[in-house]
Each structure stands twice: as structure tokens, then as C-alpha cells.
Amino acid sequence: MKIISTRNLKKYFPIRSGVFLQISGWVRALENVNMEITQGETIGVVGESGCGKSTLGRTIVKIYEPTAGSITYRDPSGASHDLSKGIDRRVEPIFRKDVQMIFQNPFDSLDPRMTIRDTIREPLQTHRLLAGKKAMDERVAELLMKVGLYPEYAQRYPHEFSGGQRQRIAIARSISVNPRLLICDEPTSALDVSVQSQIINLLKDIQRDTNMSLIFISHNLDVVHHMSDRIMVMYLGNVVESAPATELFDNPAHPYTQALMSAVPSWNPKDRKLGQVKLEGEPPSPINPPSGCPFHPRCPHRLALCSKAKPEAVEVSDGHFSACHLHSV
């Protein structure tokens, strides 16, 4: 069952200036993103900074209002709701309980003035899921144990914990209301290498237990590959390629995906590969994106056509879509 689907989702941020903050330009963070996520599935979103992957997560979870396009949410009873123009008052509590998010920076995502108990309790109180202090405390203890922490930690404050522990606490908070969809925005990139894998394993475990869906946003190709069933590669607000995880890594079709994969260090000093990376330049600014294909100024295979027309996504193999003119030439 689908939980969320988007059609031609766009998000432009206004650039304001002047005394009365008139709009003087737009940051085109998301361009025509189509995606859907079904129960129990993990969608990976990968790309470099500024590619719109975080904006996508935040738009889906309605921190940002979409500029155009639609977001359709299907609640647990099966009814569909259009979220692109605000949320209906009756749907909002259901949606806010059903879709949760964890963030990149564990030093930022917990209120430093609240105890761990209060932090984890907040969603429970907001949705009035449990009555009574005792039931609440038991639930907090249960959640802490579930994420691999001691229940006694409940009365402590965030500053007493390390990055990895804080990320566990953030996970406990987000799963406290049993969401069906968890959006993970770079959940491991601020963590120490030796702790990253613990968090990834924990997320996988929880997903196994609860059949929760994940949208896993990261710049780390290997981590996204490990977590995801399907992967979307984003560049300058566009989804340039999407495919099942293994297929994407075995047969990357879009030149950007290929470049991205070639730039990942090999971890093998006897086979250094960075000298072979042929990608030049840097991503252009989303304020003035290039015409035609967004990747064409850096693309080693560009054609004359590429600067004129934006390529449509083509299904290059079963379930594997890539938006590149090379596929149709």
C-alpha cells in the first residue's frame, strides 16, 4: 500500500531583499519530482549538497509548503488526502503521527533544556496516545531499551550523551508514535565512523520489526546502497536516475551517477582511482540553473541537444529510469 506519492513536486524558495522584503529571485530547490513509497519499502535519495535531497524530505513531511505539484497521503484506513495545499485539520493529527523524521545533527536535534524523558514523551503527549504518568514512563523505558540505551537515562539531559547515543534518542522519539513512514535526513553523516554502522543496523532492525517505510537521504553512496530498495539520484533539484539499489550500482545509466560513483574513494592504496575521475567543475547555482539538462555543463558526453531540451526520464531497463538524451539517441 502506498503511503505517500508525489507528482511533479516543485519547491522554489523566494530570495527576498529590500525594506519590505520583495521577492527578487528564486532558488529552484526541487523540480518536478515524482516518487512514491509503499509500506515496508526504503527509498534512498542520494546526491551532493544543494541537490535538493533534504528539501524533498522536508517538503514531504510538510516543514516546507510545495510550490507546485501534488503530494498524496494515504492514511492507515486507506483514504487519500491531497497535502499540496495545506493539511486538513482532521487529517493533520493522523499525518503528524504517521510520518516522522530524524535529522542529521544529533547535537542539534534534541532540546538541550529538556530531559530525555520529556523529549521522548513530547510526541506521545501531543497525540494523547497514553494516559497517566506511569504508562508514559513505561513506554519511554521500553523505547530506550529498544534503541539500545538504559532506561535510567530518561532523567538525564542531552549534553551527557555522545553523538551516537543522541541519535539513538532521536530515533526513540520518532518511533514512539509508531509511524508508518520515517524520513531519515543524513542520520549518520555527523557520527563517528565506528558508530555509523551501529545506527544503520538499528534502523534496519526497527524496520524489520515494524514494517515501517523509510526515506533515507544521504550523500554517502555506500550507505544508501546498504539501506535502500530503490534509489533516486538527484542533481540540482532533479531526479536524474532512479532504480532498484543493486541495479543502479551494477549498471549506472546516467553520466552523473557514473561520475558520482567514480569519485568514491576505493579504500585500496594499491589501486588508487581518483586520478581517473573525469568530472570537472562544480554544481551550478540553483538560482540560475543551466538550460536543458541540468548536468550538461559538466557532462563528459554532452551533445548539442543537451543545452536546449531537458531530457525526460526513460525506462532503460525494468524499473530503471534515467533522464538523459543519450538513451534516446
Binding site: 554502522s197 546502497h225 567514480s262 579504500w267 575521475v277
Partner: protein
């Protein structure tokens, strides 16, 4: 073009100890660290947050304020010991003979001045150049790192450039004075992979041109494999393993090093649990007694929690501080 293989030692650090006094207690951020650097090599200091790698770099550069901090031991550069060197003399070394590349290019530049002016400032502080010559040299340097339109970039402000561009300019700034040593503190961590590849390639090119040495500080073993000649792995203020890069990746000995290497997310692990190191990196003011890794170590024995292990040398140029190597006991 290989000349004599004679190695010229350019920096020797002996028993470096950098302690800080904090409200939570004394932080032994760098505790008895010794290593050396030869001309023309890239030495990587690898470790996670709080392992002391950046403090080591700051100590070498004389950027640790002592007091309140305490810096002990020897940092021999040329024929001088830099520990306790007065700030006035340090200024001639810092930026000229030893320069630094920082993690955040955005915050390393002053937003109020053009990039050119800031480069000029560094150049003129250390080199006997006039304005005209300095500008010429700077633009040459910018050209040498493949910056498009160097004349135009010279007059731009930091905010007009991307992070990758600024990082490359910072590298240029570090190179202007042809230093003997460049200390690069996580120079690619804030960059995207594709830009990281460009910056690493650039550093490698320049290093072979200038014959300078690089101390490359990072938490990312992937970049280490790409650029380093020798690797020192740090954990909780100590160097736990020193080895040539190929040997370290092929046969790591210290349990922490092998833990780090196996906790890399590999494609083959898909559908399985990832291997990981138990526990968390200890905080700087509560480093454990004995071997500092023992609470997380899968192979710890009783002795590990009591006595700090000395360095053993299982192979030439490969040292490991771990009790498992005592009495010829390998692995």
C-alpha cells in the same frame, strides 16, 4: 626522475603532550605522541572525533595557547625545538615554512576582503616581494591550481565563490610561500565527493611539484587510501598504529584499526548487519585507564585495563601499541 632515496627528516615530534584544563578535569588531548615526517611524503593522521589529531596539528603550529593549556615534549623542525618558542618567532615559521589548510573554507576567509587581498597579505608577510610581483605570483599560483579566470577571481569576495573553489584557493594560499610542510586538517570533509576528488588530485599534483610534505588529518580512511604514504591511527590522544599505507590496509594489526576498516559499509554487506565497533568514543576528560581502547576492544585481556601498552614493531616501519603483540604473540 627519482634521485637518491636518501630521506631527509624534516619534522620530528617526540613525546608530545598537550593537556587542557577544563571544568570537567584535565583533558589529555594529545598524550605522549611521537612521530616524524620526511621531505616529500604524505603522512596521514587518522582518527575519530576527540582523538587528538587536530590538537596535534595545532600544537605543531603553535596555535595552542599555553598557558592555559600545557604543551610538553619536543617538536623538532629543522634544528629548532618549537615547543615553547615565543609567538614572535613562531610567526616567521607559521604560514611561511609550515602552513595550514582548514576544514571550513568559508570560515577561513575574512568575508570583508577580496580573496586577492587576503592572499597578498600572506604573501607579503613572508616574502620579500613588492605589490606587483606578489600579485603576479599569486595569479600564477591560482593558474597552477587550474582556477579559471584567475585575474577575475583575484578581485572577488569569498561569498562569491563556492566551497570547492575556496578550498582550492586556500590550498593556493598555503602554497604561495613554498612551505616545507602543509598541514591539511580535514581539507575535504566539508566538500562533496566529486569536489573532494578534484581537491585530492590537486593536492597530489602540487605535492609532487613542490616536493613539500603534507600532514593530512582526516577521519576518512577512504581518502587516506587515495593520498597517503604512511598512516598513523590515533585513538583517544594516542597513536595506536603506524604503518605504510598499503600495509595498513592489507594487514591492520591494532583491533581499533581493523575495527575501523571493517566498519566501512561495503556493497557485499547488503541484507546483513554491518560489522561495527562496540560502544562510543570516550569523551576527552574520561579516557579510560590502561589501553584507552580496551572497553571497546573485542580482544581485551586483563592487562589492557591496567597498563598502557608500549609500541611493538611487528614489521619494520610498522608499530602497534597493543598488548596482544607481547612475547611474539601475533594477532
Amino acid at each position: 626522475m627519482t634521485g637518491a632515496v636518501e630521506r631527509e627528516r624534516i619534522l620530528t615530534v617526540r613525546n608530545l603532550k598537550t593537556y587542557f584544563r577544563t571544568p570537567e578535569g584535565v583533558v589529555r588531548a594529545v598524550d605522549d605522541v611521537s612521530f616524524h615526517l620526511d621531505r616529500g611524503e604524505v603522512l596521514a593522521l587518522v582518527g575519530e572525533s576527540g582523538c587528538g589529531k587536530s590538537v596535534t596539528a595545532h600544537s605543531i603550529l603553535g596555535l595552542v595557547k599555553a598557558p592555559p593549556a600545557k604543551v610538553d615534549g619536543e617538536i623538532v623542525f629543522g634544528d629548532r625545538n618549537l615547543v615553547g618558542l615565543p609567538e614572535k618567532e613562531y610567526r616567521h615559521i607559521r604560514g611561511k615554512q609550515i602552513s595550514m589548510i582548514f576544514q571550513e573554507p568559508m570560515s577561513a576567509f575574512d568575508p570583508l576582503y577580496t580573496v586577492g587581498r587576503q592572499l597578498m597579505e600572506v604573501a607579503k608577510a613572508h616574502m620579500p616581494w613588492g605589490d606587483g610581483e606578489a600579485k603576479e605570483r599569486i595569479i600564477d599560483t591560482l593558474k597552477s591550481i587550474h582556477i579559471p579566470e584567475p585575474d577575475k577571481r583575484y578581485d572577488e569576495y569569498p561569498h562569491e565563490m563556492s566551497g570547492g573553489m575556496l578550498q582550492r584557493i586556500m590550498i593556493a594560499m598555503a602554497l604561495i610561500t613554498s612551505p616545507d610542510i602543509i598541514i591539511a586538517d580535514e581539507p575535504t570533509t566539508a566538500l562533496d565527493v566529486t569536489i573532494q576528488a578534484q581537491v585530492l588530485n590537486l593536492m597530489q599534483d602540487l605535492q609532487s611539484q613542490y616536493r613539500g610534505s603534507i600532514i593530512f588529518i582526516t577521519h576518512d580512511l577512504g581518502t587516506v587510501a587515495e593520498i597517503a604514504d604512511r598512516v598513523h591511527v590515533m585513538y583517544a590522544g594516542k597513536i595506536v598504529e603506524k604503518a605504510p599505507v598499503a600495509e595498513l590496509f592489507a594487514s591492520p594489526i591494532h583491533p581499533y584499526t581493523s575495527g575501523l576498516l571493517t566498519s566501512r559499509v561495503r556493497r557485499e554487506y547488503k541484507g546483513q548487519d554491518l560489522p561495527y565497533i562496540e560502544g562510543y568514543v570516550p569523551r576527552a576528560y574520561e579516557f579510560p585507564e590502561g589501553c584507552r581502547f580496551h572497553p571497546r576492544c573485542p580482544k581485551a585481556v586483563a592487562k589492557c585495563s591496567e597498563v598502557q601498552p608500549p609500541e611493538f614493531e611487528p614489521a619494520p616501519g610498522h608499530t602497534v601499541a597493543c598488548w596482544l603483540l607481547e612475547e611474539g604473540d601475533d594477532r
